[in-house]
């Protein structure tokens, strides 16, 4: 199966791991990620100013390209996913916005939010199936106690994201269990890491991130996984004394494709 893939800027710089492991794991699961041609930054943040169009255009171009190829659009970075999914939702439901965007883009045939957007985790759950993932695991992570860290962007706003219950999610825990490890449930798994406040007042971000790590550790976690480069940055920066890794790294390890074998 082939899907369109939107990696995002961070995955080409700071988070190259997240990207590479995503590619290799998908291949191992029989899915080819076809990178959107000439993709641009998603905008970074979905602005709620409803007259703001320019920062959302790149998302629409990616969505339209995937739709033209009749492929679902898959994202990995939580932030990109949030922006693209919200933009798509606005294209479906906000007629004035969609109209404006289509005028800007002068896109052939226009675009009205037809593409399906999947986060990589949703792709695993809904397109591949965690049962299949389980069967493809070669290095079981049995005995490892792993805490899923969702952050804010992956699940909210729920009325648009529709990934999981924002207060009691299970998709990442199910993912961890599929790889054979034990999922650690802790209260702060969907709390904010501090986000961009780490630029303005690093101490505030540190306080939030520390609380998350301490909470996960108290619940018995030996490792934290995340889908978000900014979350990872804040958790690591705050001095985490347990590993904080991308979920795709864990997946690649379990599937036995962590080591680079074919140059990608």
């Amino acid at each position: 199966m082939k899907v369109s893939y939107f990696p995002g800027c961070t995955l080409k710089n700071k988070a190259k791991d997240l990207d590479a492991y995503a590619y290799r794991s998908a291949e191992a699961l029989g899915i080819t990620l076809e990178e959107i041609e000439n993709w641009q930054c998603c905008g970074g943040v979905f602005t709620t100013a409803n007259n703001e169009v320019a920062t959302k255009l790149s998302s629409v171009r990616a969505l339209k390209e995937a739709n033209d190829k009749a492929q679902p659009l898959v994202t990995v970075c939580s932030a990109c996913h949030n922006v693209i999914k919200q933009t798509n939702h606005a294209m479906q439901n906000d007629k004035a916005f969609a109209d404006k965007v289509n005028r800007y883009m002068a896109a052939d045939g226009g675009y009205a939010g037809e593409a399906e957007v999947y986060h990589y985790l949703e792709m695993l759950r809904d397109l591949v199936g965690f049962e299949t993932v389980k069967k493809k695991v070669v290095n079981s992570l049995k005995g490892k106690k792993i805490a899923a860290y969702y952050g804010c962007l992956l699940l909210r706003p729920n009325s648009v994201m529709r990934m999981d219950d924002p207060e009691n999610p299970s998709i990442m825990e199910d993912f961890i269990r599929a790889l054979g490890a034990d999922a650690v449930i802790y209260a702060r798994r969907n709390e904010c890491c501090g986000g961009y406040i780490s630029v303005e007042s690093p101490d505030a971000a540190k306080k939030n991130s520390n609380a998350i790590i301490e909470n996960a550790k108290a619940a018995g976690a030996q490792m934290i996984i995340t889908a978000c480069p900014l979350c990872k940055y804040n958790l690591v920066k705050s001095g985490a004394d347990i590993p904080v890794v991308y979920f795709t790294e864990l997946l690649a390890e379990a599937l036995g494709v962590k080591e680079d074998t074919n140059g990608k």
């Binding site: 219950d165 207060e167 009691n168 449930i185 802790y186 209260a187 702060r188 709390e191 609380a211 909470n215 108290a218």
Partner: protein, 664 residues
């Protein structure tokens, strides 16, 4: 040809303000059949009705058209007037020139023109009306109450007191419902058991009342006065008639680790159990999912110790068929699941509990014998946080909560907070609220006492997150009045979960063809004027199945529902609605289309002999309508492909005449 009288009502200025009533009565004078036409300020008044009666006599009227308000308002009034004047009540037609005309138009010219057209249509119809005589049906003088909580108990007692037999169907092994689980009741703080259990005993001893406990209604057929109901008595594997409730079986049962639903799973019961000491009927029940004997035939201890010999492992579900004249729905409520509200960490910590669990924790007969302790470690909690509106008034999160106010939470939370401070003065108690809603007799005084005399700390704002850390619950909340964030280390958190109708309500409503709102609360026939009746004749509503209610309100409504039932059962016969379907057998080809669309099951088929034109006889299958069951909805008349079905009072010819009059 009819002799029609037209009576145009002004309804004060309601109609006359936008419709030239004089012009309407003048215009209708010239319609076919009309021999008299007039207008008057209030046609429904005594003087107006007398005007109609006199005109009937003076002009020998055979049909009446009243141009006034909606027929829902005064059709019955004018039918009575007609009957009093000696003509068939179904010779009256109402042209609605108020709700559908004067109220929706602003312009006198348009309003008048439309009123004339509506009047012409009514005249055209009444010309084709024929006198109709309603049929009569007998009334079975027995009532069914579905649900044995305080609502069902009160309704049953009141009906029984009036001398009519009543059956209560309760799905649990005992009656008592939610009230039996409560500790004290607001605003007087009397103990729930002390005021409820005597009533339960009254029910058991009342010779007019039968209790079908551990039973469910599985089928309802028939109509007002004549319901045929099937009740499934689930096998409890104990012979109710000989069990003495001594409890010897419970003591001996080796399966001791079954979560006790009466204590909301906070302790365990045996596989054979009596829910609580004052259960009615006080009879043991075997849980087939937990009993070793029923699961694999190994055990049988209870049968051995039962002196009465009441244990019967071979007992089967029993189906009982009974006739009833009236049905009262009293299916009650449940707190919603806290699964989707994990920001409060309900699934993560045993010390986050719901208010109903708090009731059990403080109840002397509860799992901790009334001692307020933390479920996790049995320690005394020093800081308690109550969170109100968990899932109530939840507009933005309607998919996990409820948009409505659950109504009872403000008062029971004030009660919990007050009782805690009274019994354990060393405890710090916070209550987080959106609004405190305490209207009701002595209710606001009660809440103020909690604040002013007992020092409960009420904070306007909601809790955003609860994190279990060590043996504390880190509560993060906002104080909207002080405009600051609060961080409280709590020992116990109590969630006032929204309440919702019992899950059995929806399938029951389907069986009863009773309507419900989007939240699955039963709809009343009129929200103000008929609050205890369902729009389905013969079905009445009692308690929280109709909307969130506290105990005083539930008991009032239960009594009101009983009064309505008594009024119905006191009648020997019910007048039916003569506007029912009838089939023209000569045109009917027996295709079954009408029977398939009939929501009431009123149509059956019979083989009938017909004389054919060539003098032979032929047996043909034709539709027959049971007029007592037919509700006159007209679905069959629309569905019938050969035009054989017609509705009396609303015949195809009459409807077409109206359309013609409008389009002319």
């Amino acid at each position: 040809m009819q002799r029609v009288g037209v009576f145009v009502c002004w309804c004060g200025s309601n109609i006359a303000g936008t419709v030239d009533v004089q012009a309407v009565s003048e215009a209708l004078k010239n319609e076919p059949g009309v021999v008299f036409s007039t207008n008057y300020q209030y046609m429904c008044s005594q003087a107006g009705q007398d005007m109609i009666k006199n005109a009937v006599k003076e002009h020998r009227l055979t049909g009446i058209v009243v141009c006034s308000c909606s027929p829902r308002m005064h059709e019955a009034t004018f039918r009575k007037t007609a009957a009093a004047a000696g003509i068939n009540p179904y010779m009256v037609e109402i042209a609605n020139i108020r709700e559908q005309c004067s109220w929706v138009h602003k312009d006198m010219l348009t309003g008048t023109e439309k009123a004339i057209i509506l009047g012409k249509a009514a005249v055209a119809k009444v010309n084709l009306n024929t006198p109709l005589i309603p049929g009569e049906s007998p009334v079975t003088k027995r009532a069914l109450v579905i649900g044995g909580g305080i609502a069902g108990i009160q309704t049953a007692l009141d009906i029984a007191d009036a001398g009519f037999p009543v059956d209560i169907v309760e799905k649990q092994p005992t009656i008592g419902g939610k009230m039996a689980q409560l500790d004290k009741t607001f605003p007087t703080l009397d103990c729930a058991a002390c005021i409820l259990t005597p009533k339960m005993v009254d029910v058991a001893q009342n010779e007019n009342i039968r209790i079908f406990s551990y039973s469910e209604v599985t089928e309802v057929k028939g109509f007002v006065g004549n319901f045929d109901v099937t009740i499934k008595k689930k096998a409890r594997f104990v012979n109710e008639d000989i069990c003495t409730g001594c409890g010897a079986c419970v003591e001996k049962c080796p399966m001791k680790k079954v979560p006790n639903e009466f204590n909301l799973g906070m302790d365990n019961r045996h596989a054979i159990y009596i829910p609580f000491a004052q259960a009615v009927p006080k009879v043991a029940t075997i849980d087939p999912n937990a009993c070793n004997m029923l699961k694999n035939g190994k055990c049988g201890l209870c049968a051995r110790v039962c002196a009465a010999g009441a244990i019967d492992y071979k007992q089967k579900d029993q189906f009982i068929e009974e006739k009833y004249g009236a049905i009262v729905v009293a299916t009650g409520f449940n707190p919603i699941s806290m699964e989707k509200f994990d920001e409060y960490a309900y699934s993560q910590s045993k010390d986050v509990i719901t208010s109903l669990e708090f009731e059990r924790l403080t109840n002397a007969a509860g799992p901790s014998a009334g001692k307020l302790i933390r479920p996790s470690d049995g320690k005394h909690p020093h800081t308690i946080v109550f969170v109100q509106c968990v899932g109530s008034r939840c507009e933005s999160c309607a998919e996990k909560g409820k948009e409505y106010c659950s109504k009872i939470c403000c008062m029971y939370t004030a009660k919990h907070a007050m009782l805690t401070r009274d019994k354990y003065p060393d405890t710090e108690v916070y209550v987080f609220y959106i609004d405190v809603r305490t209207p009701g007799k002595n209710f606001d005084e009660f809440y103020r006492r909690a604040v002013e005399e007992y020092g409960v700390k009420y904070v306007k704002g909601m809790v955003g997150k609860i994190v279990p850390e060590g043996d504390k619950l880190k509560v993060q909340a906002s104080d909207l009045i002080a405009n600051r964030q609060l961080h409280i280390d709590a020992d116990l958190v109590v969630l006032a979960a929204a309440i919702e109708p019992d899950k059995s309500a929806r399938p029951l409503a389907t069986m009863l063809t009773a309507s419900m709102d989007t939240n699955d609360f039963f709809t009343e026939a009129h929200p103000k004027l008929r609050p205890v009746e369902s729009p389905t004749a013969g079905v009445f509503l009692s308690g929280a199945c109709q909307g969130p209610k506290d105990i005083p309100e539930t008991v009032s409504q239960a009594g009101a529902a009983a009064a309505k039932v008594i009024g119905l059962l006191a009648k020997d016969k019910l007048m039916g609605n003569p506007c029912v379907a009838q089939s023209d057998e000569l045109m009917c080809n027996g295709c079954s289309t009408c029977a398939n669309v009939c929501p009431y099951g009123a149509i059956s088929y019979e083989d009938k002999e017909f004389r054919m034109p060539d003098r032979t006889t032929k047996i043909r299958r034709v539709a027959a309508v049971n007029p007592a069951v037919c509700q006159g909805c007209g679905a069959c008349t629309v569905a019938c492909p050969s035009g054989a079905m017609d509705l009396k009072g609303f015949a195809n010819s009459q409807i077409m005449a109206e359309v013609d009059a409008i389009c002319k």
